[in-house]
């Protein structure tokens, strides 16, 4: 009887203290100019695993800040964390950290260290959401990470020269990363992936980046969907990567002598579906690209729609719309190992007597004139001349110089509804 009652009190006490501990976990730590704690650095030091720190509006100049605990950082009224153009700002070394609702500004430019506004190194999980990044060297930098999500951030830099700005979102040696709904403006590369596998880049908007809107290097089995790439040095470069799925993206207004909508270099077994290419100097340039399918895309008013180099083998270009491009297809060789099937070509002038929706006369999309330019760029000045038109027509009837095998046997009479 006696022992029982002791046990009862004991258990009641234990239960009560457990509730207390639980409560203290749930109690967030507040930081702010009007709070007891005014230093974010102190708050991070005081926090323990599982804590939430709520940071109130104001400017915090305590960079660099290191996070080595599994915590949640929430910004209230978008507090600003300022790198004072000298430091990196936030360095995360623990798994599952959440960073939400902040303004990060002025991570310092450096020639030898990759200063970033937010850097995650060697972690699993984590979420960077709903932040604004202004005028930082690197924006968000992930190294050796897995399963991190980067969502709803606005990343802006006003880089004038490439050397003064680095990448907006930089992913290195990581896997299973999600980059979604971000805006990246005015960095070197908007979004950069190097040695990143099984990751997704969706619904992002990149504009005015000095090099590429999106840049893949040595990154396999990734996909990027529903993004818009506008007015970047070049839209997207996918290099030395295999099995990349590119779908429903918009590549627009990438003009310039070395500018592309999409540059493919050493790519295997990739898929390019349902994209929109408009107003680019070259919509797609393919070099060392093999066994890749380009299907259901719209190519509208580009200088060159598809530029396919001789070292590209076994690609299939089918059921696309080619509308009002100066050159639908250009190449640097008479031979071709890729097939063109059932595309709609606005410059096709054949007829369809069989009534199956496909022209009865095969279409040769490579203009003789494009070969002339290949050899002598200055000949471009003759672009709209009657002489060139006559040459092109003659060549289409009797192909002598243009690649004979590069032909669409079934040119579509009417546009595909895409």
């Amino acid at each position: 009887m006696y022992t029982f009652s002791i046990n009862k009190t004991w258990f009641a006490f234990l239960g009560f203290s457990l509730v207390l501990i639980r409560l203290s976990f749930a109690q967030p730590i507040f930081v702010g100019p009007d709070q007891e704690l005014t230093s974010l650095k102190m708050a991070i030091e005081q926090a323990s695993d599982g804590d939430t720190i709520i940071v109130k509006g104001g400017t915090y100049r305590e960079s660099p800040l290191f996070i080595d605990k599994d915590i949640v950082l929430l910004g209230y009224d978008q507090p600003e964390i300022d790198g004072e153009s000298k430091h990196q700002i936030l360095f995360v070394k623990t798994d599952h950290v959440v960073i939400n609702g902040f303004l990060f500004s002025n991570a310092g430019l450096s020639h030898t260290s990759d200063n970033a506004a937010i850097r995650l190194d060697g972690v699993k999980g984590g979420e960077i959401r709903n932040n604004t990044l202004n005028n930082n060297f690197f924006g968000i930098y992930l190294a050796r990470t897995e399963g991190v999500q980067i969502i709803d951030n606005t990343i802006r830099s006003n880089a004038q020269r490439e050397s003064t700005s680095a990448n907006g979102i930089h992913l290195w040696n990581s896997k299973e990363i999600l980059v979604s709904n971000n805006q990246v403006i005015g960095h070197r590369d908007g979004i950069y992936l190097e040695n990143v596998d099984n990751s997704e880049v969706t619904n992002n908007f990149t504009e005015g980046n000095l090099r590429y809107g999106l840049h893949f290097m040595f990154s396999n089995d990734c996909l990027y969907l529903e993004n818009t790439f506008s007015k970047n040095g070049a839209g997207v470069a996918v290099m030395y990567s295999d099995r990349v799925l590119m779908g429903n993206n918009r590549f627009v207004n990438n003009w310039g002598s070395s500018s592309y909508g999409l540059l493919l270099k050493d790519i295997n077994e990739s898929k390019i579906y349902n994209n929109h290419f408009e107003n680019n100097t070259t919509a797609i340039r393919m070099e060392g690209t093999n066994r890749t399918v380009i299907k259901n895309n719209r190519f509208i008013r580009n200088g060159s729609a598809v530029r396919i180099m001789a070292n590209s083998i076994n690609n299939r270009i089918e059921q696309n719309n080619f509308i009002d491009n100066s050159f639908d297809v250009s190449t640097n060789s008479r031979r071709t190992n890729s097939s063109f099937r059932q595309n709609y070509w606005s410059s096709y002038t054949g007829y369809d007597l069989t009534g199956d929706g496909f022209g009865d006369v095969p279409f040769h999309p490579v203009r003789l004139f494009s070969l002339l330019i290949e050899r002598n760029e200055n000949a471009m000045i003759l672009m709209r001349s009657l002489f060139v038109d006559i040459l092109d027509i003659a060549e289409r009837v009797f192909p002598v110089l243009t690649p004979e095998a590069l032909v669409d046997e079934q040119p579509r009479m009417r546009e595909w509804k895409l």
Partner: protein, 150 residues
């Protein structure tokens, strides 16, 4: 008459001497790497090759310059000189006179992580700070050749 001829010959010689190929400025952010087609964006890694005819090729990294040379894209006898940028000062140096550091902590555009230094002491200082291995221009060419299999 003889003097005029002499003057003319001399003049032509001086003129021809003036035609020695010269290193050209790279327009960063606009020009492409000859080897990998990437837009050249970081001066501290960029490099350049001059031919005897005065043509020049720009590269975004030291590995691309070495790769271009070892892949024999250009006959060796046509090459006039190869130039790299000193990582610390951003001055141009002849490739064979430079010292190189291969360090994973200094990531170059084509990810072989090579940087160049005009001065061996500086290279060693960077090696102390960033770890890695110091290489010569010959080592670099062999390394890139092996790494890229070209």
């Amino acid at each position: 008459m003889k003097t005029i001829l002499l003057l003319l010959t001399f003049g032509t010689l001086v003129f021809l001497y003036g035609c020695e190929p010269e290193r050209q400025d790279i327009f960063y952010g606009e020009e492409e790497c000859t080897h990998c087609n990437m837009i050249i964006s970081e001066p501290k890694f960029s490099s350049q090759l001059l031919t005897n005819k005065g043509k020049y090729y720009n590269f975004d990294s030291i590995e691309c310059l070495a790769g271009f040379i070892t892949s024999k894209s250009l006959p060796t006898e046509d090459i006039h000189s190869a130039w790299v940028i000193s990582f610390n000062s951003e001055n141009w140096v002849l490739a064979q006179d430079a010292h190189y550091l291969k360090s994973g902590n200094l990531q170059s555009p084509m990810s072989l992580n090579l940087s160049a230094y005009s001065n061996l002491e500086v290279a060693k200082e960077y090696q102390r700070n960033y770890t890695g291995e110091i290489l010569s221009w010959n080592d670099i060419q062999n390394f890139v050749h092996k790494e890229w299999n070209n």
